[in-house]
């Protein structure tokens, strides 16, 4: 695990919050985007310190 933090999910969440604020400022979120965001947050909270690729694969909507 390249990031020094043991709990990676917390680091991702911490980075996610300001990113969302910036994007909202550029353009307000759509309803689909808010739902997707909630889902991502749920997955991140349920993470058990596994590989990040697993999370990404779950996120694939295409």
């Amino acid at each position: 695990m390249t990031p020094p933090e043991k709990l990676f999910c917390r680091g991702l969440e911490a980075e996610l919050v300001p990113a969302m604020a910036f994007l909202q400022n550029c353009r307000p979120f759509a309803v689909s985007m808010t739902n997707a965001l909630k889902y991502i947050k749920l997955l991140v909270s349920q993470e058990d310190s596994g590989d990040n690729d697993d999370d990404v694969s779950d996120q694939s909507y295409y």
Partner: protein, 284 residues
Amino acid sequence: MNNLETEKITSEITAVVVKKPIEEIESKMNKSPEKSKEEILVERQAKKAAKQSKKSEGGEKQNEKSEKRSLSSATPDSSPLKPETPQESKISGKSKDQILAERAAKNLAKQAAKKNIDVASPDESKAKTPKDQLTSDLVEKVEKLQIDDSGETPGKKVLSKAERRAIQEAQRSAKARVIDEKNTTAKKIKEMPAKRLQDVTSKKLFETPLKLSTNKPSVAHKVKLFKHLYADKCDFNINVNQKLHPAIVKLGLQYANDTVVGSNARCYAFLNAMKTVSTSKFNT
């Protein structure tokens, strides 16, 4: 064994419970044969008669005093009823009709007593204390005032017309004065030198266009649903302060510059950016 014991206990309890009420009833029965329903009624009537006699004594005294003082016609109707009613109660048993009649008579007597007291008070005051004399004087004055007010109303009407005419004339004169003043001011303005007038007009001209510009605020869109689209102004200075992922910054620019348009497209782009962020997190 337990069952037998419980049965014995219950039998004893029932015996005790049953015996007590029977004993009570027997005791009452032993006492009651002396008294009968008729005798009980007689006793009740006697008690009621005693109560009414006490009341009638006090009521009769009041009626006597009121008759001596007042000369009103209300009393003779009520007074005979009061002495009659207690006698009737003493003689015979009561019935519902009699009770109602007595109650009505009592109410009438109370009202008459109140009237008698009201009529008796001014007569008493004149005879007795100076304070009461003052009150009587005040009452007379009030009555006089009322009479005067009633007499003045027709006079007021006559005066009001004249007053109205006078008021109208005063108003017309005031208006004329105001108009004259305005004319004088206009004349003064005309008399002012040309330079001052030019300055005043120039000031006015300069002021009006500024006011016009400030009065009209930039109304981008009146509909609340679309206001957010026009009010947005992305401050990219914030990005410099925070450490945002480059993919997210790219996404934001695409949103602001309308390169990615539509909710579905934006959502797809957003998910791709999240994917890159999560994978690139390894690099830190």
